[in-house]
Symmetry: C2
Subunit: 386 residues, 2 copies
């Protein structure tokens, strides 16, 4: 871990420490920041002025109370001048949002795409959407800090190459460079582009915009056709050696369980992947013509699947000791039988050992969790300078 | 994450970056360090001189070759002047080692203790051993950098309090403060003391002394009566919200599996915890008077247990994507039936999905893995300044 030698690094660390502090406790004054960081007041004033000039922080209005002496000016994140762009490069879906520093969506666009579309054609469509959104927020006088992209599969973080995405059927796609060149060719300048796995960016959306300072480690479970996890530990994504960490859909829950699409048996995804459940429901409905019996069967099937999800939550809790578990993805819409059964099983296993479970919440951004998370990836890269 | 404001932090970062660089590539010169870090040559010279004076680095002898010009002086870790003290505070066992910066054991002591001994009496015994070893290395003119302690259960890192240790039957024991006071009372001065979970320190022993720069994340599986994991990601221990991360002995491998000592069913430990396996072997031997049949039964039992270990390795690999898996602890001595079956099952599951497994190796320090790991904890604390 080579460190650049001059003082720029320390300045960057200190600048971003100030932004993080103000974000966590809006209303802090320069004097309080100096006390909290150990920086001198003059250094804090200098850095805060820079951050105000660049659109990171703003001063709050102070009520004049008639009291004697100058009141310290409260600082907060400036949500009006910078923009983060986030994109979902998904299976059959492209979505782009722009958010402010607080994660509020200020522009969005989405379109479905044919799943047989080539990687090149899909990226061309995505770039067109990105260009439109970048122009829109710039017309509203915002400065674009960067573009984040969330995509299924395994991403090589340093290069922004999508290494393997089985559900897209792609391999070795240079997503970052493609978008960089495309934005440059559209005369939009050199906008930084960051690419990461979709469950990972969804986890960052929660960490950077919702649960600031809460729930470390944070475990985000993305529940859809694929089942994956994004884990943030000590403010950093847990990526693994090749970016494959969090492939928890292929944890074996039962050695003699059903065969999974990956070729193994008893994987979590083989029990409660969305397509697996839909297939089971469909065959059940076809067989059960009596509607009430069918409904009962459906609920029982969802409960059984949910119990397996509860075991997965338990196993990941045992491994990672998360402070917060967030559930997101389309399977969350399958209703209480599925999610409640998962929570109950998790709680029961913890009770059996006399242990307390952490909070389990639903993803804040629902259907936008990946594009908003991708916007959070941009913020994450700025706020984590080393 | 408040940052201290002055330049001391940057200096610490740079100093330890230099130590890490020289450790990873012995023989580096000051000029190469300057090139690698971006520090100026004069800063590097200043810091290297400090590190030499303090016993971290030393200059290698340079062969005089007759060539013209001054040769750059190669630098390496100084293994002769500093000492790290590590202790195992275990179930029925106390062990203390001193190592040099390279993890070579330069002094050791151990004793068994009655498991019914109180926490206070056990800590008194341990402190006596620590004092003896500290005196021994100081008599050999070494400077003691600190004392590390590895202990089963969950440790609150900031306070050094052993929060819960079911296998010791202890709760809320202020291990760090006890040792600090005891060393101080013995007129040994203020030696820094660090306490951490035993599987965690064992992982650090591998990271700091053996597999430097290799295998990130590193997953250390400690296989004994208890089954636990130490995980090092990006040079940091994965501890979890309350220090409970890595309790992987209680991952459920089979929902209808045997009941575990923790109260849950189908835990990894209920399949291949050492006591569970010994109990099963004993009852088998009692029943099977024919020796050859008995031997066959024993091997089959170990193989079945090993297959479950293989599933655990697979599930943790899927979650964490480690670059290296290290197996340690007394169960590793059960022979090839157990460990080979684990490796085979892991390999088979990976093959079924067309994936490559990471390297799986045995712990370098064998029976000393916890005390040497505890010594590594001290080095880890110095080398990781932020």
């Amino acid at each position: 871990m080579a460190i650049t030698g001059d003082q720029r690094l320390l300045k960057r660390i200190n600048r971003m420490a100030l932004v993080r502090l103000v974000r966590g406790r809006p209303g802090l004054s320069r004097a309080e920041l100096a006390a909290d960081t150990g920086l001198t007041k003059s250094t804090v004033s200098l850095l805060v002025q820079e951050l105000i000039d660049e659109g990171w922080l703003r001063e709050e209005e102070v009520l004049v109370t008639g009291a004697i002496g100058r009141r310290p000016t409260p600082l907060r994140l400036d949500d009006r001048r910078l923009a983060l762009i986030g994109a979902e490069l998904g299976v059959g879906i492209l979505a782009v949002v722009a958010t402010n520093l607080a994660g509020e969506v200020i522009a969005k666009a989405n379109q479905t795409v044919a799943s047989e579309l080539s990687a090149n054609d899909t990226l061309s469509l995505l770039c067109q959407m990105l260009e439109d959104v970048v122009r829109e927020v710039r017309e509203a006088d915002r400065v674009v800090l960067g573009v984040g992209v969330g995509t299924p599969g395994s991403v090589q973080e340093s290069s922004g190459i999508l290494a393997v995405a089985p559900n897209l059927g792609w391999r070795d796609i240079p997503v970052r460079d493609w978008i960089l060149k495309s934005l440059h060719a559209a005369a939009l300048g050199d906008i930084p582009v960051f690419v990461q796995n979709d469950a990972d960016v969804a986890a960052l959306g929660e960490v950077e915009f919702c649960s600031i300072g809460v729930g470390d480690p944070l475990l985000f479970l993305s529940l859809g056709v694929g089942v994956g996890a994004g884990v943030v530990v000590g403010g950093r994504l847990l990526l693994g050696r090749r970016g494959f960490a969090g492939e928890v859909g292929h944890i074996q829950l039962q050695s003699d369980g059903p065969t999974c699409s990956c070729g193994r048996r008893g994987c979590a995804e083989a029990f409660f992947g969305l397509q697996v459940m839909l297939n089971a429901l469909q065959s059940a409905k076809l067989e059960l013509l009596d509607v009430s019996r069918s409904e009962e069967f459906v609920q029982s099937l969802l409960r059984t699947a949910g119990q397996r999800l509860g075991v997965l939550m338990h196993n990941l809790w045992t491994t990672l000791d998360p402070g917060l578990i967030v559930l997101g993805g389309p399977s969350c819409k399958l209703g209480p039988s599925f999610i409640d059964a998962a929570r109950e099983t998790f709680q029961r296993l913890a009770n059996e050992a006399g242990l307390e479970v952490p909070s389990v919440v639903q993803a804040r951004y629902g259907e936008l969790m990946i594009p908003v998370g991708a916007a959070a990836l941009v913020l994450h890269k700025y706020l984590q300078p080393i």
